[in-house]
Symmetry: D2
Subunit: 397 residues, 4 copies
């Protein structure tokens, strides 16, 4: 009788490498899948490593464009600043990875999907809810959560099963990265009074080491999507990567966040989002110019909800496309160009222009060109303040 | 028969100086009131100037402490970032100034209150609604809005009535300032594609000119209120002013905002908030450490509403104290110390600690000390994802 | 030289009839437009009356279907209960009427549009903002607001200009009606301590006079739209009218509301919405069965905003289609049948069923069929309560 | 060595009666606690029954007043309509019961608290989170969830341990009741297409059987709290009970709800809330008269959040008192009298009056008394609609 098959989200690191012989011992044939969402790994090497440690099949999927166009773009347009600080990094890639894992599980008639998360993070929730939503018939395995080993026990098992021990094993950090940014936690950062050490960062220079000359970039948006950088059209994944490099050089986009996890604890995370920071800043400015007041004031309600459900692993809830339908309707106005100065860790918007600009110099000016009807203010103020004034009169008595 | 009396909010500038003889011509005795909310004016000079141009009485009111304790502190604790960008400056002082004007009107048995606003700004709304709420029997006059003169006509009138023409008359800018920050608009900034010129700024150095060495400050909070700077206790007004100086030196707190005014237009404003930026950043970090998740996630709803009603001139609506009652209840937890590095325009929180810290290293750690129950996650994920999974199953069919 | 042309929203009542000669005297050629949005008027008579009192042209527009499909349906799907009490009646027809007026103005090259509202209601705002949004070049006239006559002065003018005085002139009420309901105000109802008199109602029987036998109806919904009544398919306008009759007979849908107008005052209104009440109740029940929890809990936020902007005359704001995009995305799940008992003023939902039902008897049952995993609750509760428990522990000290 | 002690929430029903010998077998001394929150039980009988089936101690606590003043009153003032349908019944009593259990556990030096909930309801969450928040050192036991018996197995165990089998055992329903209402589920109601049978109801008459003559009651509120019924002052618990009787007689307050449980499933519940329905309706009407518009429009946001966290077992989260601080600040205005007609299942507000009424007949009237300034509307409309009109102009191009 044939073994049952499990599709494993394989990163090449120690945990998922050890998971391969461990799953084999439990009677599974392991199909390893390594996805590229822009973390800059050597995928060919990882693909082969999976086979070497015992996978029966090994897949490599380049999902950078899909990640940029359908996940990072939502984060950009919805300004998904979780707790007003962190625009989502891992939370965005998990549903896409889940989707790819389920697709391969369906193609290969696999019975289960496995991920390498522990029991205290958000990612286990994101993976399991996403996978179950996409195919409720698949079993979901979480070997690392299940075996519950100490690091020493894991190494002993790895050595016994000829799993190579990575050189970086004694790094105290736990890192996840994609096009949209890099997340890092653990080690000395577990004390929120201690500043993150310089080694915690991988995408950005310390401000102390950034150039003394600013770099000015122009970003062009069409329907809320960045389409050109400094006049050169390029696809979104490339544009983000390019901005990651240049903004990282200027130290843009470091975040140090004590955040509330879905599983009920606070954790301290360090993020780097050089390109995302530039794009989010520029996009907001273009919205400030082009969205009508009542839309500008309500959109944050949608943004907050979208940030929360994505963070909380509910990407595949029917609520997400409904929130996105609102979002997409607003983006038709977000056309134009934003000029951003990158300097000493800042992304400073210096100018913005748009064919949809609602800024009307004739109405705004204090010069002779003024066309605003100052007399209208009198009636406006009277009715605007009427409830407050009536209430004050009544309740003072 | 005696003249009727009007209490005028007097700044010493051209508009309100011209308003004095103009109001006199209309048959009013003018009582000038100059308030100090931390803009650093020579109040004695202004007080005398009012008398010189024709006021029958002239008052000087030092309202810095009241402004800090009852207005700026609300902005700080409620993170009142209007449109996610501007933490309110003028909008905070208008209700306090209105309150003082009405108090003096009541004391002097005045019949009216006058302000110097034009017909296209937010401040006219804030003044008029506030004054009417505090005393509906007072008439409100807006001479500048009423006369509708060009600059040239105003100067001609000033010269005819011996009103001194200020040397800064040809400044293109329109500035308002208090402890909490400085607002500037008009001139070349009326084109949102043009970067604000360096002359537009008054409280902060350009990043290019800031020191190459960082300055680290520690701020201590009790019940959400900053009580000590670098271990030295001081009252809030002093603490803000001290921070304005040191953070301004490091270029912290410049804002360039295309904003939606209450009167229906977009305008472009430049703000500087060096001290406020440091305090708002530090306070948020302390809340991240000390507020329970569901409070941290709901408080922004209160913050947004509070920001909007203050911006919109509804400080004296009964809604404001209700929102504040929520706010104050949350602040009892916000105790502790935040360490902030000021450098090249940044206020970077490097560390935070609190007796009310909900960050529990034993629950958060990835080390052997881990006390978090990883098995609980299995049941949690199952029920957390159940609605999404059921919905996916039903609607896929 | 030809007269300028104005398109007048003509109801056949005294105010708009008097407006015709009044506008003529001001030099306008009046094009009368009478719209049928389901108020059950004799349109042919009204059309002729306009010509008789001096209009140069007179149009009759049957807009019932458009009103049902594009306006009432939004109210239904979005549960637009303004202030949790009134599902919008006049507020829904004003934008449609404005649209038709502007279309005719464009076709006839008119220079202006006129409406018959006074200066203290919401409708003037709805008309003027809508008309200006649809064609900013049109002038908007409000003759009734402008002339400011007392009733006696108006009658005198009418008699002098051969405008027929309606027999109902001494009715104390001010009524507006369409497919979705009937609004009534003024007269003795201006005292909110007094119960509305029976004569105030026109569409519904008093409960005292309703049948002693209930009537049960079944309504079928497809994508949130009622498509059949008691198994008989019909278009929405007809279905609403049919329900108005049957539910009105059973006394369903009276509302007595002290509401906050946009212009700053409270007013007391009496509404009747027999059909709308039945449909809104049934639709909500079907959503309770078919919407996933997180969508069911967030949709009210959209509903509230949509209700408010429609009430406040902002139908043509870009925010409305964005809110509708969210709404429409949710309605794909709202398929099924609802059984409603009409009896003594009630519309009681007795049963609901749907192919998209997320109610799963196997998960919900307390019988032996139970498939819910009771053990999952333990882990769920532990993590769900963790923030509260940690906070309690920390802050108790 | 002495047994450990457990405080058991004891209802006198089969489940918690069986739990006593079961807990004893596990080595616990059981302290039974029976709380009266207004469900109308024979407490003395229940207290003795606990001892008879094996409890070492048995307490009876009359918590009706505390429940009315501190729990039901919050529901009333906050209009806690969970999912717009159900104003919370069991969800309100659980935190109070937990508080009493913990108090007795502390007094008796008990080691644990036990409740009789199964693993699929909301109440287990409410109990466990509340108990742990009040005393994290207490163990929480859930015998019914733990033993997982079928009904037959439970009866067999009961008979073996001399636990009396209640006569109502074959009732298909699962009922919880307190002052604020009665909840019922299970049996044929598990099919949401089937109307609840008449036997499912216990507090209200079917409309078919209600009197043909209406009853009119007047309720007086002080600071949002009902203090007198028909002019007779009484304490809240009594007032609610009195209203339950009279409104129940008129068939007021039946609810049939397919609701989203916290544990991820939909369930169908039938509620009866005769008194609560009358009070909630009257209170809302008084707020409509007395709250200023911006407060009336924002309070529902607080109400929704408060409803949700109470439903979800987070009564003891720090967020609840913060929401209540907002709430209490609003209630100072809610003074006055409401006249309600009870008839055929309806609680119809016929009139409301208040010393804090913001309804101003002089502003609202269409009679000659009108003092509203109709001309103010012109300026108001212009600025109110300006963003929409500007946006329409720009984006039409």
């Amino acid at each position: 009788m044939a073994n049952k098959k499990v599709v494993l989200a394989y990163s090449g690191g120690l945990d998922t490498s050890v998971a391969i012989p461990w799953l084999k011992e439990q009677g599974w044939d392991v199909i390893a899948v390594c996805l590229d969402v822009g973390e800059g790994k050597d995928l060919e090497f990882i693909k082969n490593k999976a086979l070497q440690v015992g996978a029966v099949e090994s897949y490599m999927v380049d999902a950078k464009d899909e990640f940029a166009e359908e996940y990072a773009l939502i984060s950009l347009q919805a300004h998904t600043w979780y707790e007003q600080k962190y625009p989502l990094v891992s939370a965005l890639s998990r549903p896409l990875i889940s989707k790819k894992l389920v697709e391969i599980a369906n193609q290969t008639n696999a019975d289960a999907v496995a991920h390498g998360c522990t029991g205290k993070g958000n990612d286990q929730v994101r993976f399991e809810v996403s996978i179950k939503a996409l195919n409720p018939d698949l079993e979901v395995l979480a070997p690392v959560r299940e075996w519950g080993w100490s690091r020493d026990e894991e190494i002993e098992y790895a050595m016994k099963h000829n799993v190579p021990i990575p050189a970086t094993l004694d790094s105290p950090f736990s890192i996840d990265q994609n096009l949209w940014g890099r997340a890092n936690e653990a080690g000395v950062m577990e004390d929120p009074w201690v500043a993150p050490p310089e080694e915690a960062y991988g995408l950005t220079k310390a401000i102390e080491n950034t150039p003394d000359t600013a770099e000015v970039v122009e970003i062009e948006f069409v329907a809320g999507k960045p389409v050109a950088l400094n006049g050169e059209e390029m696809k979104l994944a490339d544009l983000i990567q390019k901005l990651n490099a240049v903004a990282g050089e200027h130290g843009v986009g470091r975040i140090d966040h004590v955040e509330n996890r879905l599983v009920g604890i606070k954790s301290r995370e360090v993020y780097e989002i050089p390109g995302a920071k530039v794009l989010l800043t520029a996009h907001k400015e273009l919205e400030d110019l082009t969205l009508v007041k009542e839309m500008a004031h309500f959109k944050p309600v949608i943004e907050k909800k979208l940030s929360e459900i994505i963070y909380e692993g509910l990407w595949f809830s029917p609520l997400r496309p409904a929130l996105e339908a609102f979002l997409k309707e607003t983006q038709q106005y977000v056309n134009g160009t934003v000029r951003v100065k990158l300097f000493k860790g800042h992304a400073i918007v210096e100018g913005r222009k748009s064919p949809n600009s609602l800024y009307n110099e004739k109405l705004a000016t204090y010069s002779k060109e003024d066309m605003f009807n100052h007399n209208s203010a009198v009636g406006f103020i009277e009715l605007w303040g009427l409830p407050t004034v009536v209430a004050a009169g009544v309740n003072k008595k």
